[in-house]
C-alpha cells in the first residue's frame, strides 16, 4: 500500500513524489539515462527532428485558424488571406513549408547515420522499425498536406497518387473512387485529406514518437565504434565521480546541452531558409489554382519522394507498381537482410562499406533523374539506377553473410 504522508504540503516535492514518483521518472528518463561519449553531431538528429516537428505543429495550428478546406476557397485562403491579410501569416506558412521539406532532409540523414553505424542491428531492430513507421506516416502527412492549398500540383499529385491504388491491371477503380469519395479529386477528397493532415496522422505520429523513444531506452543509443557498453559499470564509474574514466554521460543535463548546441546551429540554417530561401519549398506550379481539365506539362513530387517516384517511372505499369511497392517497404527489412553479426561502422565492415555508399549515391542519382523529364538519356540512366537499387538489396544478404566476424 502506498504511503501518503498526511502532513505533506500539496504540490510539494514529497507530495508529488508520493503520487507521481517524480524522482524515479526523472532518474529513469533523464539524469540516469546514459548516453555513450563516443558519438558525434549526427546523434543529435533525433532531437533536431523532434524540434522540427514542434515547429510544424505550432505553425500548423496558426495556419489552421484561417485555412478553408473547400475547393472554391482553399486556394485563396492560403495565397490571399494567410499570405497577405493575416498578420505574420506568411511566417507560419513559410515555417510550415520549409519545415516539411527540411524534416525529410534530416530524416534521411538520421536514417543513413543509422545504416552507416549499424544502429538497426541486434537489440535495436525495434528502433529501426518504429523509425520506419514514422517515415511512412510522415510521408502520408506530407502528401495530405500538399493537397491543401488546392493548386495545380496539389490536384494532379492527388490524381496520380490515388490512381496508384487501382493496382495497374487489377483495375480497382472502385477502390480509387472510394478513397477520393468522387470520380476525380473534389470536395470530398479535400475534406478527408484535411482531416487526415490535421488530426488522424498527427495523432499517429505523436504515438509513434513515444514508441520510438521507448524502443531506444533499453538498448541505449549506439556509438561510433558499435562498442557494446556495460552501461551499469560505466554509470557506476560516472556516479563515483570518475567522469573522465567513464564511457557514458547522463542524458540530462550533459548530453542535452550538446543537443541544444546542435539545435542552435540548426535553427540558424532553418530560419535562414524560412526568411531568405523559402521558395525552394514552394513549387511555382502550385501557385496556379487547381484545374481538372489541364495537367501541368511536367509533374514531379517534392524532392524527398523523387527517388521512389523514379523507381516507378521507367517500368511499364504493373512491374513499375510492384517495384514502387517493394521500394516503399524494403527499408523495413534492413535488420533482417543484413546477416552480419557485426555491430560496427560501415568502414570496418568490408564490402558493406561499398554497399552503403553505392546505395546513397544510387538514391541521389534516382532523385535527380526523378526531377528531369522522362526523355532520352535521362530515361536510360533512371532505368539503370532503378534496377541497380534492387540489385543492391538482393546483394545485401549475400555480402553481409560473407563478412568476417570482427
Amino acid at each position: 500500500m502506498a504511503h501518503f504522508d498526511e502532513n505533506a504540503r500539496p504540490f510539494s516535492h514529497q507530495w508529488l513524489n508520493e503520487r507521481l514518483a517524480i524522482d524515479t521518472l526523472k532518474r529513469v528518463l533523464s539524469t540516469e539515462y546514459w548516453i555513450p561519449k563516443n558519438i558525434n553531431f549526427l546523434w543529435a538528429m533525433g532531437m533536431v527532428l523532434a524540434a522540427t516537428f514542434g515547429l510544424l505543429l505550432v505553425s500548423g495550428i496558426f495556419l489552421l485558424m484561417y485555412y478553408q478546406p473547400n475547393t472554391e476557397l482553399a486556394f485563396d485562403s492560403v495565397n490571399y488571406t494567410i499570405m497577405t491579410e493575416v498578420g505574420y501569416g506568411w511566417l507560419w506558412r513559410h515555417i510550415h513549408g520549409v519545415g516539411a521539406s527540411v524534416v525529410f532532409l534530416v530524416i534521411y540523414i538520421h536514417m543513413f547515420t543509422g545504416i552507416y553505424y549499424g544502429s538497426y542491428k541486434r537489440g535495436r531492430e525495434l528502433i529501426w522499425l518504429s523509425g520506419m513507421l514514422l517515415f511512412v506516416t510522415f510521408s502520408a502527412e506530407a502528401f495530405s498536406g500538399y493537397m491543401l492549398p488546392w493548386g495545380q500540383m496539389s490536384y494532379w499529385a492527388g490524381m496520380v497518387i490515388t490512381n496508384l491504388f487501382s493496382g495497374g491491371s487489377l483495375h480497382a477503380d472502385a477502390l480509387v473512387e472510394w478513397i477520393r469519395g468522387d470520380y476525380v479529386p473534389g470536395q470530398a477528397f479535400l475534406n478527408r485529406f484535411f482531416m487526415l493532415h490535421v488530426l488522424l496522422l498527427p495523432l499517429v505520429i505523436i504515438g509513434l514518437i513515444v514508441l520510438h523513444f521507448g524502443t531506444l531506452r533499453i538498448p541505449h543509443v549506439n556509438n561510433q565504434e558499435g562498442e557494446e557498453l556495460d552501461f551499469e559499470k560505466e554509470a557506476a564509474l560516472y556516479k563515483e565521480g570518475k567522469i573522465r574514466e567513464s564511457k557514458v554521460i547522463p542524458f540530462n543535463p550533459v548530453f542535452l546541452s550538446k543537443d541544444v548546441f546542435v539545435l542552435g546551429i540548426y535553427f540558424i540554417f532553418f530560419f535562414y531558409l524560412v526568411f531568405y530561401h523559402f521558395e525552394f519549398a514552394m513549387d511555382p506550379v502550385n501557385f496556379d489554382p487547381a484545374d481538372p481539365l489541364k495537367t501541368p506539362p511536367h509533374i514531379y513530387p517534392e524532392w524527398y519522394f523523387l527517388w521512389s517516384y523514379e523507381i516507378l517511372r521507367p517500368f511499364p505499369t504493373d512491374p513499375g507498381l510492384v517495384a514502387f511497392g517493394i521500394a516503399q517497404v524494403i527499408f523495413f527489412l534492413l535488420p533482417f537482410l543484413d546477416k552480419s553479426p557485426n555491430v560496427a561502422p560501415a568502414h570496418k565492415r568490408g564490402l558493406f562499406k561499398y554497399w552503403f555508399w553505392a546505395l546513397l549515391i544510387d538514391m541521389i542519382v534516382l532523385t535527380f533523374m526523378g526531377k528531369l523529364p522522362p526523355e532520352g538519356i535521362w530515361s536510360v540512366i533512371g532505368l539503370i539506377a532503378a534496377i541497380f537499387f534492387f540489385v543492391l538489396w538482393i546483394a545485401l544478404p549475400i555480402i553481409t553473410k560473407k563478412e568476417k566476424k570482427l
Binding site: 490524381m159 469519395g181 468522387d182 470520380y183 473534389g186 505499369t317
Partner: protein, 181 residues
Amino acid sequence: MANNKKGRRDFMGMVLGGYTALGGLGALYAMKRTWDPLPSVKAAGFTTLNIDDYKENELVVEKWRGKPVFVLRQSPATIEKLKKEKPEDLKRLIKVGDAHFTICVGLCTHLGCIPAFRPETQDFLCACHGGVYDITAEVTKAPPPRGLDIPPFRIDGKKIVLGEKGPEYEKMLADGITMPV
C-alpha cells in the same frame, strides 16, 4: 471444479470477444460507408455532344463526371491512312452518319495525367511518364498499359450522349476495344 470455473470464464471471454468483434465490424462498415462517394456525386449527370460543333482535326476537350473527354473528328485523309496502315485502329472510332470520331477519357491509363495533343506529329504525349498514343488514342509507347478509355456513349441522331450505354458501346466492350469506366 477449478477446471469447470475456467471453462465458464473462457466461455464468457469468448462471448465478450465475439460481441466486441461484432460491434467492431459494424463500426468498420459504417466508416467504410462514410468514405463512399455521395449519391449526389454518383448521380452526376450526362454530357451531350452535338456532332456539328466539331471541326475535322481539331481537338476539343469536354467534361464528363469531372473528367476531361477528348473529342476529335477525324478527317477523311486520316481514315484513308488508317485503313492502309492500322486497320485495327478503325474499331476505336465512333461513327455518326459519315463522320468518324475519336472520343475518349483524356486521362492517361497509366496514372491519370492529361496527355497533350500534338497536331504536328498527330499523336498524344503524356508528359508525366512519357507515354505516347496515336491519333485514335491507342497506346504506342509504354508505360500506359492500353489506349485511352472510351466513355459509355449512346448515339442519338446527330447527338452523342456520354454516360448512357448504347449498342455501339456495348459492342466495343464485348470486343475488348475499351474498358468500363
